[in-house]
Structure formats: C-alpha cells, structure tokens
C-alpha cells in the first residue's frame, strides 16, 4: 500500500518534471494584426508538426513589441510597422540589438460598390477622396453622385497606416463615416452605390464590393511589391535569434506549409 502511494507520487512528479524540461515556452508580444489570427495559427501548426513548444501570445499593439523586447519580457515580438529610429536607439543605449525579420505582407485594398463603374483610381485621387478634396464620383470619371467615404475608427492601426500610406499623413475629411471594423466597411460599401472604403486583403471580394486598382495596380498576391498601399509585417528579436525562436521564425518565413497558412488568413507570405 505504502509502496503504491510512493511509486504513484514518484511517477506523477516524473511526468511533471519531464514535461517541464522538454517543453519550452515562447512569449510573443506585439501587433494585433499579426497576433489575431496569423501567429496563433502558425503556432498551432508548428506544435502539431512535432515541436514541443508552448506559445504565450499577447497582441496589444505594435508598440508593445518593442517595450517588451527591451524589458526582456518577450522572446520575440510582432509588429505591423517598421521600428522607429527612437526605438532602435533605445536598444543600442541598453547594449542590445534590434533585429528585424519580415513576416509577411499585408495590403490595404480600396473597395467600391460592385455597381460602381469606377474600377481604377490614381494614388492622388485616393488621397483626394479620403481627405475630402474630391467629393463627387464625376470628378474621377464615374457616374455623378456624392461620394460616401467609409473609414475605420481612430483607434484602429489600419486607420493610421492608411493615413500615412495613402494620404501623406493628412487628416481624413469631415464627411467620412467612421466604422467599427473591416466587416462594417464592407457592408457599408456593398449597400451604397456611392460608397468607398478600405479593408484588409482578407476582406476583398465580399459580395457587393469590388477592389479598385490604385495607380494601375490591383491588390492581389502577385502585386505585393508594386501595390502602393502594401506594408510589411515583421517579427523582431533582441539580437540574432537562437534556439527555438530561430527555428520558429525560420519555419514560419520559409516553409511552404507556413506560407499556406499566411495566405489563408489573408496575408502574403514573406517570399
């Protein structure tokens, strides 16, 4: 009886110990663009392919990627924007080195109602429409009608990125309607023949909407390099990655399986 108890306790602790030894934990922090779907799904498959790793993913915005890496509270970070000079300087000051890895490419597609005859806009026209300088479809060669502009709300990262990429940092026009998410924008545009908005690549092709070409380039995977409103997504590490971090980053940026997942969640693989 006593022997049984002792042995079972021993067996239990052995199991616990072995799992604690073998399983590495990776703490990932940063952007919610990457952290919402892409990295969790990559992590899931990475684990399923026989890597004994536990992921702890916290997606609270790109800025937290750098603060956590600097403080040493993350193994690697995710960011939907490139680092600022000041952020790199912080690392140098602390005797560390910020290393950037391209995780994938995201495109912001400009969408209009499917029934709208306008299928191509120049970059200046896009800027003009969203800043409110251009207010009627007849000004960009469409059938006359007041343009209804749908944008994300101010807390969104895409709101800021679009402002920077497409509008040269100028403010949105006062006539724009602020929507809660990609889905709401797609819905607004599909129900409004005079509507225009922007959505992430994953939302292109929603019924009733059509993506327009910007500067002659359509937002499709092949055009990732030439599309003017595309942005890189990044992983960041403190120094050159080693061990399990290195393995994961290499796998997720080079393996065809990872590329498939990245494509499935609506982004474009790094290479």
């Amino acid at each position: 009886m006593k022997f049984k108890l002792v042995s079972s306790v021993a067996a239990l602790s052995a199991v616990l110990l072995s799992s604690a030894v073998a399983q590495t934990k990776l703490v990932v922090k940063g952007s919610d663009t990457l952290g919402a779907k892409m990295v969790p799904q990559l992590a899931e498959v990475y684990k399923a392919t026989g890597n004994n790793v536990n992921f702890e993913i916290a997606a609270e915005g790109s800025s937290t990627c750098f603060t956590n890496l600097l403080a040493g509270t993350a193994d690697f970070g995710m960011s939907s924007r490139a680092h600022k000079d000041s952020e790199a300087a912080d690392f140098t000051a602390a005797g560390k080195q910020l290393v950037q890895h391209v995780a994938g490419v995201d495109m912001i597609a400009v969408v209009v109602n499917e029934a709208n005859g306008v299928k191509a806009l120049t970059k200046d026209q896009v800027a003009g429409i969203f800043t409110g300088e251009i207010s009627d479809w007849s000004e960009v060669g469409g059938n006359p009608g007041k343009i209804a502009v749908y944008t994300r709300n101010t807390s969104s990262g895409t709101y800021k990125t679009f402002q920077k990429l497409a509008m040269g940092g100028k403010d949105y026009g006062s006539q724009s309607q602020k929507m809660a998410g990609n889905e709401q924008i797609a819905q607004g545009v599909s129900g409004d023949i005079r509507g225009i908005g922007y959505v992430g690549l994953a939302y292109v092709g929603k019924a009733g909407t059509a993506a327009v070409s910007v500067g002659g380039v359509l937002p499709t995977a092949e055009n990732a390099k030439s599309y003017p409103l595309s942005r890189n997504l990044y992983y960041y590490t403190d120094g050159q990655p080693t061990g399990e971090v290195k393995k994961f980053i290499e796998w997720s940026t080079t393996s065809p399986v990872a590329a498939k997942i990245v494509t499935k969640v609506g982004f474009i693989p790094a290479n």
């Binding site: 499917e114 029934a115 709208n116 005859g117 300088e133 251009i134 207010s135 009627d136 479809w137 007849s138 000004e139 060669g141 469409g142 059938n143 006359p144 009608g145 007041k146 209804a148 709300n153 101010t154 807390s155 709101y159 402002q163 040269g168 940092g169 100028k170 403010d171 006062s174 006539q175 724009s176 309607q177 602020k178 929507m179 607004g188 129900g191 409004d192 023949i193 005079r194 019924a207 009733g208």
Partner: protein, 652 residues
C-alpha cells in the same frame, strides 16, 4: 415622563433598541438615508464630471498656443485658401461630369443596372449556384482520374449548369426595374429583357457578359467623342486647365511649410513633456524622505534637457516665405477668376445638376475671394508670439465646427457638430412622437371604452421594454433599407433633404428615438389629462358641448402645460440615448445640412472614444466636457419640465 419611568412602566411593552434607536426611528432614518444617498450620488457625479473636465480649457488653450507657436496656424492659413480654391475646381469637374452623364443618356447606368440585376438573381438561385460551384470543384483533380470518372464529373457539371440555367431563366423573368434598391439609376423600359438575359449570363459565367461590355465600350467611345468635340466640354476643359495650373506650386509650397511646422511642433511637444517630467521629479525630490533619494531624483531631474525651443529661429523660414506665399496666393486667385470667366453659359447646359453646380461656382467664387482676403491678411500679420487667450479656447469648444481627434497635425475639439447631431435626431423624434403620444393619451383617457383602455395602455408602455440595442439593429437592417428605398421616390423630392442619399441617417435614428419617446410622453400626458377635475368635463357636457368639443376646447387647454412638460421629459429621455444614435446615425462628424444627413452625437462620441484615450489627456478632458454639456442639457430639460408641472399644480 423621564426615560427611567418609561422603562419601568409595566404597561409598556419592552422595546428592543439598536444604537439607541427604536424600530420606527430605524425605518425613518433608513428612508431618509436613501433619499440623502440619491442627492449625494448626484453631487458626486457632478463633482466627478467637473473635476475631470476642469483642466480641459487650460490644456486646450496650451495646445492651441503651441499650434500657433509652431507655425501650424500659419500653414493652415495657406491650406484653407487652397482648399477653398480646390472646391471651385472640383465643382467645375462636376459640372462636366453631370453634363456628360446627361448627354450620354440611360446607357451610362447600364453597368450598374446589370450588377443590380445579377445580384438580385444570384440571391434567388443561390442553392443552384452553390451546387454548380460544388460540382466544378472537382475540375481541378480531373487530370489525375481515369476516362470514365472524368466523364462522370463532366456530366455532373453539365447537369448542375443546366439546372442553374433553368432556374436562373425562370427567376430572371420575375425581376423588374422597380426591384432595384437605388432609385437614382436610370433605365430604358424596353431594355428589361436585355438585362434579364445579361444577368442570367453573368450568374452562370461568373463574369461580365460580352453584351454588357459592348455597351460599356460604346459609352466610353461616346464619352471621348463628346469631350473632344462638343464646344461646351471643350470650354469646360480649358477652364479646368486654367484653374488647376497654379495648384501644384501652391501645394508643394504648403507641403514644404508643413514639414517645418511639424518639426517645430515635435520639438515643442518634447520640451513640454520634459518640462513636466522635470517638475514632477523636483516635486518628488522636495517631499523625499531620505537624503539619498533626494540626490538621486535631483540628478535625474538635471538630466532632462529643458531648453525651450527657439521658436523665433525655427519659424524663420515661415516668416521669410510670407512674400512668396502672398505671390502664390495671388496667382491662384487670378487663375480662379480667369477660369470662372471662361465657363460656358448656363443655357449651353442640359443637365439640372450641372446647372446647379455652375450656379454654385458663381456663388462660391465670391466666398473664395473673401477667404483669400481674410486668410491672406491673417497670414501676413501672423505672429507666433501672440498670446492665445482662454476665451478663444472656450469659444473654440462651444462654437467650434471641427471635431478632429488623433490627428497627426492638430486636434480640434468643437462640440457644434456633435451637439447638432444629438439635438437634430431628438427633434425629429419629438416631432414624430408628439402626435402619436398625445393623440393616444387623449383617446385612451377620454374617448375609448374601458376595454380598449386595458389593451392600448399596456401595449404602448411595453415599447419601453425593448432594449435600445435591439431597436438599433432593427434600424440598421430593416428601417434603413426601407427609408432608403422609399425616400428616393421623386414624389417626395419637394421635402428638403429628400431624396435620401444613404441608409444610416438622422431621420432613421429619429424614427427609432420617436418609438422610445412615445411611452414616456404618452404616460405623462395621460397623467396630466387625468389631473383635470371631473367638474370641467361635467360642466362642459351639461352646457351641451359634444365629447370631442369638450376634449379639444376644455380639457386639453386646461392641462396644456402638463402635456408640454411630458414632451420635454420625453425629449430629455432621448437626448441621452446612446446605442441607437451610435449605430444608426452613420458616424459622420460634420455639421448636418438636412435631417436626412448622417451625423454623430454627443452620447455616441463618448461611447466610441472614451475607451481609446489616455486618462488625463486633452482628448479625455474634451470627452468629459461633452459629458458635462450633455448632463447640463438633460438637467435643464428636467428642471424646465418640473417647473411647468409645479405651476400647473399651483393653479389648481
């Protein structure tokens, strides 16, 4: 009787006491305490709002002062002029666009009609479409299969296609032009069969059929021909060239100046935050307990560079550019004037929209001249050292027409667009609700049978039980489409604001809010009617008045102020409503020009933005100021209603 004798009195039952209070006292103080708690809560809420909003005006003033010091104000003087001028040039392209649309005729809309038809058809045959898509999925793996299996797959695809085609043909025959939601599209009635056929083809092919493409191509050729040959378009194009020519130079100039201003601002912001940090360190050093801590904080404080940026030096390029800026502005204005004089005569235009815009240009040009004079003057006398007064900041909040947050340039907090949005929707609601609610109250109270009373009253009061978010969903999905569909009817075009241009509008929100106001107004108005002494009615009936005469000429006048109070309370109830206005009103932060425009509201902006702001920031303070305005409005409405009710009670 002394306490002692009371206790000893054997005739009295012994009472248990708690902290020297007997049961009656406890109950009394309990209720008294509840009333006091309500008052304390109200005072606390007022205090909380005031304390959070208190620093808004000084902070806003500081922010605007920096806006001036950094030279952004100066750049905006130029930008405002450019924007005003661009508006004219954009009206010119609209004149051309509207005229072109008119000359091309109904074919211009054929692509839109086709897409609408295809969409309607796809909805009707969605099961067949799905089957067809499923059958075609196997096409990809056909090459790996044997002959027989390939044939089988081909057959199943063919069968699915056939059934889709049959279903689509039958369904298409039922589609009419009137099914299209957007009533602004024009069509030739005899083309109905053509569009039905095109929709069937489009659904099966999954792409635009050749017949529609051919029309599009024809429209394009016609367009090019008209633009190149018709004198009116040639004239317009020449005028556009003239007006647009100097824009690029001015735009480049502004872009350059923006860079200077942004850099100066960044320095100013850095200085301000460093100075604040330093001040807080010094403060902490003063109150530090240990000598060591004091030293440590002092060293830290010295490290902060708090050299105020030399604004005069940083702004030097802006001051130097004053002459260039004035010269560029003159070019711009001269070109605008010349271009306006080159425009064709209204009689040469056929489109109503184009004529209207041509008139707008003439009117707008006078405004542009004014703006150029004003802003040019302000730019030439601009001085970054001029003090930005507190009253300007206060006026800027209460009468400001711009609410711009999270800007990479400058935030502006002007409450007017939000106030008008809230107020407008509530006004629409009250106008719609009053006839129903007051009429209902009169009917139930004076004219109906007891049976009807027992049904109508609970039903109307039941509306109050519908959660506002459910009403909002109803507004987004059902009412929006309904109003949009029927609001485009040309028969309504005489009403200002019609035809409706979108689904999420103030009207939509107003209708839903009316639904929420009806129970409040109804219940209170009925109470007021109830309070009319019975003798009034009896006297009136005894004098030979009919029931209706009695109600309209005797009862209603005598409780009129009660009804007004009911309406005011109903108004107060919906001004504070959030969910409906947030989801249904369209979220556009601009001054609405008619009640069918989208708008934003004070309650909506609070709900939307409070989650994303840093505590204690300027934006935070602005939101609390909005809250305070809202609170004041509701409070004064309630106060007004209660005063009216008190007066009514006194008269009796």
């Amino acid at each position: 009787m002394s306490e002692k004798t009371m206790k000893e009195n054997p005739m009295r039952r012994k009472k248990s006491r708690f902290f020297g209070l007997n049961k009656q006292d406890i109950i009394k103080y309990y209720f008294g305490g509840n009333a006091a708690a309500a008052i304390i809560a109200l005072v606390l809420i007022c205090w909380f709002l005031l304390s959070q909003a208190f620093f808004f005006f000084p902070n806003y003033r500081n922010s605007l002062q920096l806006y001036r010091e950094s030279g952004q104000e100066y750049v905006d003087f130029s930008d405002d002029r450019l924007q005003a001028q661009v508006k004219i040039s954009s009206l010119m392209s609209q004149v051309s666009g509207y005229e072109l649309r008119e000359r091309i005729g109904v074919d211009a809309d054929s692509y839109a009609i086709y897409v609408n038809f295809r969409g309607l058809l796809a909805k009707k045959v969605k099961f067949e479409l799905k089957d067809y898509a499923r059958a075609r999925e196997k096409e990809g793996i056909m090459e790996f299969l044997g002959e027989e299996e390939q044939n089988q797959i081909r057959q199943s695809i063919e069968a699915a296609k056939q059934s889709l085609e049959n279903a689509a043909k039958t369904a298409a025959a039922a589609i009419e032009f009137s099914d299209i939601e957007d009533k602004s599209l024009q069509y030739a009635p005899e083309k109905l069969e053509f569009f039905r056929q095109a929709a069937v083809e489009g659904v099966i092919l999954g792409e635009t059929p050749e017949s529609v493409k051919a029309i599009q191509a024809a429209v394009d050729t016609k367009k090019q021909k008209l633009l190149g040959e018709l004198p009116v378009f040639v004239k317009l194009a020449e005028a556009q060239d003239v007006i647009q020519a100097p824009q690029a130079a001015f735009r480049d100039f502004i872009t350059q100046q923006r860079k200077y201003a942004l850099e100066t601002k960044a320095r100013g912001v850095a200085f301000k935050s460093a100075a604040e940090e330093k001040a807080s360190l010094d403060e902490r050093a003063k109150s530090a307990t240990s000598e060591e801590e004091k030293k440590r904080l002092a060293i830290k404080s010295v490290r902060y560079l708090t050299q105020e940026p030399d604004y005069a030096k940083l702004n030097a390029p802006l001051y130097e550019s004053k002459a260039q800026q004035a010269a560029l502005a003159v070019d711009l204005l001269v070109a605008t004037e010349k271009s306006v004089s080159m425009l064709p005569d209204p009689s040469e235009l056929t489109s109503v929209g184009a004529k209207k815009r041509l008139g707008d240009i003439k009117k707008g040009f006078e405004e542009v001249e004014e703006i150029f004079a004003d802003k040019g003057n302000e730019a030439s006398t601009w001085d970054h050292t001029k003090h930005y007064s507190m009253s300007e900041a206060v006026v800027g909040f209460f009468f400001g027409t711009k609410w711009v947050t999270n800007s990479s340039w400058q935030d502006f907090y002007g409450v007017v667009p939000l106030f008008l949005g809230s107020f407008g929707a509530a006004l629409v609601a009250v106008i719609l609700a009053v006839p129903f609610a007051v009429g209902g109250a009169i009917y139930v109270n004076r004219l109906s049978s007891p049976m009807e009373q027992q049904v109508i009253k609970p039903v109307i009061e039941f509306i109050q039980a519908i959660p506002s978010v459910v009403l909002a969903f109803f507004g987004v999905i059902v009412l929006g489409s309904f109003l949009f569909k029927y609001g485009q009817n040309p028969a309504l075009a005489w009403i200002p604001g019609f035809p409706i241009e979108g689904k999420l509008t103030m009207l939509n929100a107003g209708v839903l809010l009316a639904l929420m106001a009806v129970p409040t107004i109804f219940t209170l108005a009925e109470d007021a009617l109830n309070n009319v002494p019975k003798s009034y009615q009896e006297a009136s009936l005894a004098l030979g008045a009919t029931k209706l005469q009695t109600v309209l000429k005797v009862i209603l006048p005598s409780c009129f102020s009660g009804v007004i109070a009911a309406v005011l309370l109903g108004f107060g109830r919906i001004v504070g409503e959030t969910m409906v206005v947030l989801l249904v009103m369209g979220g556009r932060i601009a001054i609405p020009t008619s009640f069918t425009d989208p708008a934003h509201s004070m309650t909506g902006i609070l709900a939307q933005e409070i989650g994303e702001v840093d505590k204690g920031s300027l934006h935070w303070g602005a939101l609390f100021m909005v809250g305070l305005v809202l609170f004041t409005v509701s409070l004064s409405l309630n106060w007004l209603a209660q005063t009216i009710l008190r007066r009514l009670a006194k008269h009796k």
